[in-house]
């Protein structure tokens, strides 16, 4: 029988609630939103400048390779699909998610390399940052996108390393996913507006 002074101690552990959205994912969503507005501003300004020009592309400037870039756009979209495949696999079997993640990174890297090769070809044809408004917008918008793609690929690389070592959290994958989906989703609009 317990003494009246010392009763039973009841330990109540409050269960920690699952957050609506993990902090990393929320931070990346807010960042992506601000970047989305930056790209929207660029697209809007480009549309106005293009419509105010009598001749397009400007005299002496090459036409952007719309058809050739279509293939590269498809590669980038495939990379996004591979990341969706990564998430689905990760939720079922973490170790098996390595293959689709490597595929997503490889396709993304291919896109960046081909874009770089395209830049070199455009510079050789006389399209530079200061040669015309087309050149200025092309290198600013596509360059910014390439910068985001490289940063997102680096993040996916870190994600792959964590996955290989066995300490990748679901929210960490989610954070990298948001940035890559942003890169994938913005590109078709840039391609359709700038290259046409």
């Amino acid at each position: 029988m317990s003494s009246p002074g010392i009763g039973r101690i009841r330990v109540v552990a409050e269960q920690r609630r699952e957050p609506l959205v993990p902090s990393g994912v929320m931070g990346m969503l807010i960042f992506s939103f601000t970047e989305l507005m930056l790209f929207a501003g660029l697209i809007s300004a480009f549309t106005i400048i293009r419509s105010s020009s009598v001749v397009w592309p400007p005299p002496g400037q090459p036409r952007l390779p719309f058809e050739a870039t279509a293939f590269n756009t498809a590669v980038l979209l495939l990379s996004g699909a591979a990341l969706i495949w990564t998430r689905r696999t990760f939720d079922r079997n973490r170790a098996a998610a390595r293959t689709p993640l490597v595929v997503a990174i490889a396709l993304g890297a291919f896109f960046v390399v081909v874009q770089g090769a395209e830049w070199v070809a455009m510079i050789r044809q006389g399209l530079t940052l200061t040669s015309s408004t087309l050149g200025g917008f092309f290198y600013l918008a596509v360059g910014l996108h390439a910068l985001h793609a490289i940063a997102a690929l680096a993040l996916l690389g870190v994600t792959l390393r964590r996955l290989r070592r066995g300490w990748l959290a679901s929210s960490q994958l989610g954070t990298a996913e948001v940035l890559w989906y942003f890169v994938v989703a913005v590109w078709p609009f840039l391609w359709l507006v700038l290259y046409r």
């Binding site: 609630r17 697209i43 549309t47 419509s51 105010s52």
Partner: protein
């Protein structure tokens, strides 16, 4: 206080009416001086619509997703509670 508010509302209404009645006066964009045509006006309209509606769409989608996720979590928590009580 309310008089100030009503004055501000009248002034805001006047500004809006002026902007709607005299849109040509708003063409002060330094890069749009080259050609005054329907194509430029249409491009400006498209740009304005994009920059106005995009943030609203994104914020709306975010709120919709958060509400849906909150409902899912609440349902899961209720199911867990029911299981614990039954045990």
């Amino acid at each position: 206080m309310s008089a100030r508010r009503s004055t501000a509302a009248v002034l805001a209404g006047l500004a809006l009416a002026l902007a709607l009645l005299a849109p040509d006066a708003a063409r002060a964009c330094a890069v749009c001086a080259g050609k005054d045509s329907a194509a430029v006006s249409w491009a400006m309209l498209k740009g304005t619509a994009l920059l106005s509606l995009l943030p609203l769409g994104v914020i709306g989608t975010g709120v919709w997703y958060l509400r849906r996720r909150a409902r899912q979590l609440a349902a899961a928590e209720a199911a867990r509670g029911a299981t614990a009580r039954a045990a």
